[in-house]
């Protein structure tokens, strides 16, 4: 990242149409998903989108504290997105920043439609998302991880939620932006999807896209989420097949 800055000239797409890390525009970073990595949590997952590394833990449904936050007809979902001090190039203060508080809310709202909260009134479901290493797309990787952790905790869900960022760099619509592309590209658009029903639970955009580019980007996001969804399912199934042998 600093190397790119030193050169002053940033070429996000090379002459042969490849991106800074050598990917094709519609190619995702290598994705690794693992379920059930923490013993103390009711459900947990570890996710890697290339160099972005995220751990998610879920507790609940459990008794809510403080009590006055309880909702009498459904469970309260509480979400904390947090970046570890060592996750970025410059040390990040561990105190929750404005950005982290906002992302916590955005992630919670991306997951809420998938959870049957009405099954557990007056309880809370607590989601903790810890960014261990950040290289762009952390909110999307966080949603992917948290939805795996929710399923692992045995919380009734409509569907898993898969998420990926798409955007535009050097005039090309690309999938799964890394940090450099996010910073110096023209647009960044995180999307979360319940793939079974094609329901979008998160759609944000930063930068500029024409209408046709937007449609192209959204299409790419949906396809990428389907790919990730396949891997999520595989990761969940693996957890149980292993024991069987």
């Amino acid at each position: 990242m600093s190397r790119a800055e030193d050169k002053k000239v940033i070429r996000l797409i090379s002459e042969d149409g490849l991106r800074v890390d050598g990917r094709r525009p519609d190619e995702l970073r290598p994705i690794k998903l693992e379920v059930g990595v923490l013993e103390k949590a009711d459900g947990s997952a570890y996710v890697e989108y290339g160099r972005t590394k995220i751990m998610a833990a879920v507790f609940g449904p459990r008794e809510i504290h403080p009590r006055h936050l309880a909702i009498s007809e459904k469970a309260v979902i509480r979400c904390r997105y947090h970046m570890a001090p060592f996750s970025t190039e410059q040390r990040k203060s561990p105190a929750p920043s404005r950005r982290e508080i906002e992302l916590s809310k955005v992630i919670r709202e991306a997951l809420e439609p998938a959870v049957f909260t009405e099954y557990y009134p007056r309880t809370s479901i607590d989601i903790f998302i810890e960014v261990l290493q950040s290289d762009g797309g952390t909110r999307c990787a966080g949603i992917t991880a948290a939805s795996l952790a929710l399923a692992d905790a045995g919380i009734p869900m409509k569907d898993l939620v898969a998420s990926v960022a798409v955007g535009k760099v050097d005039g090309v619509v690309v999938a799964d932006l890394c940090d450099v592309e996010d910073k110096y590209g023209e647009a960044d658009m995180p999307v979360a999807l319940m793939p079974k029903f094609g329901e979008i639970t998160l759609l944000q955009m930063d930068g500029n896209l024409s209408q046709s580019e937007f449609e192209q980007a959204l299409q790419l996001a949906v396809e990428s989420c389907q790919t990730i969804y396949g891997k999520q399912r595989e990761a969940l199934l693996n957890r149980f097949v292993q024991v069987e042998v």
Partner: protein, 244 residues
């Protein structure tokens, strides 16, 4: 056109299509959207007649059901009853009137003498509608304060597996070890044996059932495990059998 698209005992995930058509009924841990039935949790498919349900494999939370027998720990003594932790998201209430037929007068009798904080009780859920705390009773036969033994905790979703079909699993363990085992639907189990070593053997066996709940032929494997370890002198040091 009613059809179930998954096979019996198949491992399914949230959002997985189980059945189509209006004639199939949606059982536990499933939900219906229009004509289609989907799974809402990780689990194994269970088809009985035309009802498709999912036996959950994960879940730490116990949701009380009226009629369930549970093991709870007294966490507070109130003026007219006790608050009992039954491992649900809600504390259960055991009112004075549900403790004994003899009237207990809170003015005269000290409630902590009947049940004190930390006591274990085997109780039955008599009321729960999700809007109020569950109510317990210990008046029925066999219910009441539990004394002695070793408390084992497992995920409540695994309790049916521990009991087995018509009690096959739990009766086998009782037969093999001669221990008294009290199972609460909420995942708390009290094991009391003649020897302490036997109690830890049963605990390991129970944990093993919890871990391998979704595998087939488990009862036979547990039986073999118990026999092999009991033959060892004392039975105090339990050796995990190697897999494979």
């Amino acid at each position: 056109m009613a059809s179930i698209v998954v096979s019996q005992r198949q491992l399914v995930l949230p959002g997985e299509l189980l059945a189509e058509g209006p004639k199939v009924r949606a059982g536990e841990n499933t939900y219906r959207v229009g004509d289609k039935i989907y799974s809402s949790r990780i689990g194994l498919v269970n088809v009985v007649k035309n009802t498709v349900s999912v036996i959950a494999l994960r879940g730490s939370c116990y949701l009380p059901n009226v009629g369930d027998t549970v093991i709870g720990m007294v966490v507070d003594v109130g003026l007219n009853g006790w608050l009992v932790d039954i491992k649900a998201p809600y504390n259960a209430f055991l009112p004075l009137s549900e403790v004994s037929d003899k009237p207990i007068n809170p003015k005269r009798d000290a409630l902590p003498k009947v049940l004190d904080v930390g006591d274990l009780v085997l109780a039955k859920v008599i009321a729960f509608d999700r809007t109020r705390s569950p109510l317990l009773t210990i008046k029925d036969k066999g219910l009441g304060k539990l004394q002695g033994g070793h408390l084992v905790e497992i995920s409540p979703t695994k309790v049916p597996r521990l009991i087995g079909k018509k009690g096959s699993m739990i009766n086998m363990i009782k037969r093999e070890t001669g221990c008294r085992i009290t199972v609460g639907q909420n995942g708390l189990i009290l094991v009391s044996c003649k020897r302490r070593g036997l109690e830890s053997l049963v605990e390991v066996a129970i944990k093993k059932i919890e871990e391998e709940a979704h595998t087939t032929g488990l009862t036979d494997r547990i039986m073999e495990f118990l026999r092999r370890n009991q033959r060892r002198a004392g039975g105090g040091d339990v050796v995990e059998p190697s897999r494979g």
